[in-house]
């Protein structure tokens, strides 16, 4: 039996430490992992917990991220709680197996500490890896700060392992800006945290020796479409209600409220930015200042659940704004940013008449400053007043050299 750890009500943790403690507290049965910056400390911290008797599950340090997720899949199919962590290039190496995990309907929690993907090589935070995972069939939850990274792990296990869901889940946090920035994190006692997630309930487990099971079959043109449709049906219909229920229960337990779509100052907002990760917190602060200092009714929509994409909730959150800026922290390589696309798709068939523009920012860990956000909100106000796009559709911000924009 693993030892419990006495925690203070508020610990000063960075996002990595917060995630490590969440993994320890839910008593993961198998963690198979491979270290990569900036997610390495999650694995190191967990190794430390294991070395000091706070973990009685198996901790497998594999030879690669692909091997790590492969072990996670084998372990999850065997029948128990499974988690790992990665970033960037390691995430990219895992991608093949991400599709296997979701297609085989195996609950695995993957902490993704977001980082740019080379070339050129870069260890800092952007959302390239998160975006790379968006078609992989996983649930993707997004943290804005270490507290979120802690809390959302509990939500991820609870939803992912639910027998109506049985889909793997990623908990994202921004590399360095969240993962290595210590803040006060409200903690749960070990037993309370474990009880919230609950005991792992096996399903189709290989280790049930009386019920042999075959996992990972081949389905060709006469079956594949139906299986992928079934997977999509679960992701589209079961997940959001389960996350909402988990958020409600979590609020009762902790007083901390999470929403599928996080809206700040949106009730009367005329202009809004939509963004993810640490940028949400910066944008909230600037939105307040735009209201106080410039008289611009600015709001912020933060994406909490990136997959499944909460199309209706996004449409509802943005239905009354006159101008929207979609902020994408990933090079879109040949088109508009992913958030721009998603928001367009969410609003296109609605009655909302709004002007949508796209900002590419923060690649490779470049700071998003308050000044950048002031200029974005100012752009959006001009668009709102004009009732049309007054700037290029896609603008790069925080970039040296001549102004870069497209469309």
């Amino acid at each position: 039996m693993a030892d419990t750890m006495e925690l203070r009500d508020i610990e000063v943790w960075d996002g990595n430490m917060a995630a490590s403690h969440a993994l320890r507290q839910v008593q993961v049965d198998v963690v198979a992992a491979y270290p990569i910056t900036p997610s390495t400390p999650i694995v190191e911290n967990y190794a430390g917990f294991t070395a000091n008797g706070y973990v009685d599950g198996e901790f497998v340090m594999t030879e690669s991220e692909h091997g790590a997720m492969s072990c996670c899949i084998g372990a999850a199919a065997a029948g128990g709680r499974v988690a790992t962590a990665t970033s960037s290039q390691g995430f990219a190496l895992m991608v093949e197996t991400l599709y296997s995990a979701s297609g085989m309907r195996l609950p695995i929690v993957l902490n993704v500490v977001n980082r740019a993907i080379g070339a050129p090589l870069n260890v800092n935070g952007d959302h390239s890896d998160m975006y790379m995972g968006r078609d992989s069939g996983w649930i993707q939850l997004d943290s804005y700060c270490p507290q979120n990274a802690y809390d959302l792990n509990f939500i991820a296990f609870k939803v992912s392992e639910d027998h109506d869901v049985r889909l793997p889940a990623m908990v994202h946090q921004d590399g360095f800006m969240t993962s290595h920035t210590a803040q006060g994190v409200h903690t749960l006692p070990d037993d309370v945290a474990y009880k919230f997630v609950g005991e792992y309930k096996p399903m189709n487990d290989m280790l049930d020796l009386d019920h042999p099971v075959t996992h990972g079959v081949q389905t060709e043109e006469d079956w594949h479409f139906e299986h992928k449709a079934r997977q999509q049906h679960a992701l589209m219909t079961a997940v959001i209600p389960k996350i909402e229920a988990a958020f409600d229960e979590f609020e009762k337990l902790t007083g901390r409220r999470y929403n599928i779509v996080e809206s700040y100052n949106m009730d009367d907002a005329e202009v809004a930015v939509v963004c993810m990760g640490t940028s949400v917190e910066t944008a909230r602060e600037v939105a307040e200042e735009m209201r106080a200092q410039h008289g611009i009714k600015a709001g912020v929509v933060g994406i909490r659940v990136f997959r499944p994409w909460p199309l209706e909730q996004i449409a509802a959150a943005l239905k009354d704004v006159k101008a929207i800026g979609a902020l994408d922290r990933s090079s879109p390589h040949g088109t508009v940013g992913a958030l721009f696309n998603e928001i367009s798709g969410s609003l296109f068939n609605t009655d909302t008449k709004t002007v949508l523009t796209n900002y590419i920012y923060g690649l490779g860990g470049r700071d998003l400053t308050k000044a950048h956000l002031v200029s974005i909100f100012t752009d959006l106000k001009a668009n709102a007043d004009a009732g049309k796009v007054t700037t290029p559709l896609q603008q790069y911000i925080g970039l040296r050299g001549p102004k870069l924009s497209f469309f």
């Binding site: 297609g103 085989m104 309907r105 195996l106 049985r166 189709n204 009386d210 019920h211 042999p212 099971v213 075959t214 996992h215 990972g216 079959v217 389905t219 006469d222 079956w223 479409f225 139906e226 299986h227 449709a229 079934r230 997977q231 049906h233 679960a234």
Partner: protein, 138 residues
């Protein structure tokens, strides 16, 4: 198997070999197993064959070479005796005939349509020059 719609099967394309629980499958013979419709045991590859092996028990010495080298679990042995061929699963490769050490062979290939009675009636006689070798196991 019925081609079910997208909502009609187990999640993750998971298959179960048996209906219900099995506790000691390694010592349970096929005839006593609760195979589900998902087990390939319930399917047939008989139409793969052009030729089929037929068995003449008069010459069989129950050496079990055919059993061990059959790639398709199609030599039926019970209580250490060869008792027949599973024609649902035999693909007609002919290995059993090749490895049969008796003289004449106890297994021979015949056209798929050949009936057993006439095959047995025309079974070749023992070849004089080659004594049936006592099979050695290695």
């Amino acid at each position: 198997m019925e081609k079910k719609g997208w909502d009609g099967f187990e999640i993750g394309a998971m298959l179960r070999t048996f209906d219900g629980a099995v506790s000691d499958i390694a010592t349970t013979l096929p005839e006593n197993r609760p195979y589900s419709q998902s087990s390939s045991f319930t399917a047939s590859v008989a139409d793969w064959r052009i030729e089929k092996p037929l068995f003449n028990k008069d010459y069989c010495i129950d050496c079990q070479f055919c059993w061990v080298y059959c790639p398709d679990m199609s030599i039926i042995s019970r209580d250490k005796k060869m008792i027949g061929i599973d024609f649902d699963h035999c693909k007609g490769c002919g290995i059993c005939v090749q490895v049969c050490p008796t003289n004449p062979k106890s297994l021979l290939m015949f056209p798929e349509q050949k009936d057993e009675e006439s095959a047995l009636a025309e079974w070749p006689k023992k070849e004089k020059k080659d004594q049936a070798e006592e099979p050695k196991e290695d």
